[in-house]
């Protein structure tokens, strides 16, 4: 499976991902160029609007920013923070890449897990971290997600998960691949006891994560304009020798083809999630 949108160089890993780093305008205020409307937007304005451009373009967000945006104030309680990757296959260059990602993201791994309240409803939550090797899934990510679903099952809690991933992490080879089976089995057990799992697909959700827990939720939401797919766009273009439409593998594309339930803008996510949890687990 192709790992697409693979780790970008460290200096590009700035707020909002996939776009250039903020630059200072004449007034000395940092601003970012929106890749959609091509306007320079002051960072303060973006922050006030949950990193969404006035034109509607959703910039990438860090895992913890998402969690604090979605959950009730001070309700997040982190779980499994001590699960980290090492280099089980002694893959060349992997140790350095891990260190680089830790610096770039401020995280120890590509997913943050825990419990929290959303609209006063208790749930388990995970948010993947694009700034950590583009959210790729190795043993630690697989172990954390699996442990979270097991915890949720034992405590009879719903799970809300924000996905962002280039796919399975190739530096851990087969061990990464097996995390797809491992996480899927845990999702299935959680599901079989009647508990709710809502996935929110964010940009990009691809490869082995799409082909496992991202597509296994009871309700699948997505952010507007996110890349959602299995194989990499470039790989498909090379294989099929066809150029692909811009909308191919976007949230809108997978919605049209029936693979997600709804596209929800960032500003409405908290309310939508709270309402959904209440309808399944509330009084």
């Amino acid at each position: 499976m192709a790992l697409l949108n693979f780790l970008k160089p460290k200096n590009k890993l700035e707020e909002g991902g996939r776009t250039e780093a903020p630059v200072q305008n004449d007034a000395g205020e940092p601003e970012k160029n929106c890749p959609n409307c091509h306007k320079d937007i002051p960072l303060s304005r973006l922050w006030a609007n949950q990193l969404v451009c006035p034109c509607g373009y959703h910039f990438r967000m860090k895992a913890r920013q998402r969690i604090s945006m979605i959950t009730d104030k001070n309700s997040f309680c982190e779980l499994f923070a001590n699960i980290r990757s090492d280099n089980p296959l002694n893959f060349p260059g992997y140790k350095d890449k891990l260190e680089m990602s830790k610096t770039a993201s401020g995280e120890e791994e590509a997913v943050v897990c825990g419990t929290a309240l959303i609209g006063r409803q208790k749930c388990c939550i995970f948010a993947m971290e694009s700034y950590f090797m583009m959210g790729s899934m190795g043993s630690a990510v697989g172990e954390k997600i699996t442990s979270l679903f097991e915890y949720a099952m034992n405590h009879r809690l719903p799970v809300v998960g924000f996905t962002v991933s280039g796919g399975a992490r190739m530096q851990e080879g087969l061990l990464s691949l097996m995390q797809m089976a491992k996480t899927s089995a845990a999702v299935k057990r959680h599901s079989d006891v009647g508990l709710l799992y809502i996935a929110v697909l964010t940009d990009p959700t691809t490869g082995g994560v799409t082909a496992s827990f991202a597509m296994e939720a009871d309700i699948i939401l997505a952010e507007p304009g996110a890349t959602v797919g299995f194989a990499g766009k470039r790989v498909i273009e090379q294989t099929t020798k066809q150029s692909l439409p811009k909308v191919f593998q976007s949230s809108e594309f997978v919605l049209e083809h029936g693979f997600i339930d709804k596209i929800v803008q960032r500003k409405d996510q908290r309310k939508t999630l709270a309402e959904l949890i209440k309808m399944h687990h509330g009084e």
Partner: protein, 260 residues
């Protein structure tokens, strides 16, 4: 067992190797092929049959690459579309309903990578197989007979026992793909093949597979007879296990834990 890991990759891809169909024909009797996913079409990259294994009815699913160029085109070079995985799942659920053990022969460079595959939810199809196979209430044995290409192979290999031919490979990504992403140079595929730990011995030492099958007499009557006996014995064993599903869960659960 010799040569570099990349030599193994080339061996695993050799079109003279027995394919899924060869295993079905030579190991099983009373073979009846069943077609279609009941949703979209019949994917020829995956063959599903009910047949007898030493008298016992079983369901066999095989990824088929074909031997000749014409066959390979017809079989999409063993790269299944979503409807192939959905056909496989339909037949596995049917096997579960009627208490038939399931045997999968896996041989693919990966799930089909194309516009139609994306439109019809390749990721979702694989994900559903991973989820559903984890709780099938009948014994499941998967054998990697050639290429075990990533999620497209795993989608038929969430099993109680996973066996691998000595020259088969099993990997999260093709060595060429890995080299071109990491080092922008697909010519470094040999380095990638070495680093990815994709040989049968590697997979066994990582706890990903349970048994390596010798290829010394590959394609001979004795070869297929040996595999038939192994399958029969293993299914007899697995059928006696009252905690089959817990054992299957634990089998994958422990892979990649920190204690490993």
């Amino acid at each position: 067992m010799s040569g570099t890991p990349y030599d193994r990759v080339k061996l695993a891809r050799d079109n003279k190797r027995p394919t899924g169909q060869d295993y079905i024909k030579n190991i099983f009797k009373n073979i009846i092929e069943l077609h279609g996913d009941r949703r979209y079409s019949d994917d020829k990259a995956i063959i599903g049959v009910i047949a007898r294994l030493d008298g016992t009815p079983v369901t066999v699913i095989a990824i088929e690459k074909g031997h000749t160029y014409k066959e390979r085109v017809e079989r999409n070079f063993g790269a299944p579309h979503p409807e192939g995985y959905r056909k496989a799942l339909r037949l596995m659920k049917q096997a579960e309903k009627f208490g038939r053990p399931i045997i999968c022969f896996v041989d693919t460079s990966g799930a089909c990578c194309g516009i139609g595959a994306e439109e019809r939810g390749q990721g979702q199809a694989i994900a559903e197989n991973l989820m559903e196979m984890s709780t099938l209430c009948v014994p499941v044995i998967s054998i990697l007979i050639g290429e075990g290409g990533s999620g497209g192979a795993l989608a038929l290999a969430v099993a109680d026992r996973v066996w691998m031919l000595q020259n088969a490979v099993y990997s999260v990504i093709s060595p060429e793909g890995c080299a071109s992403i990491l080092w922008k140079d697909s010519a470094k595929a040999d380095v990638a093949a070495e680093s990815l730990k994709l040989t049968a011995e590697d997979a066994k030492s990582l706890g990903v597979i349970d048994r390596i099958l010798s290829e010394s007499d590959i394609g001979s009557k004795e070869y297929y007879d040996r595999i038939r006996t192994l399958l029969t014995d293993e299914i007899t064993e697995l059928s006696k296990d009252p905690d089959l599903l817990q054992a299957r869960y634990d089998r994958f659960r422990k892979i990649g834990m920190r204690s490993n």
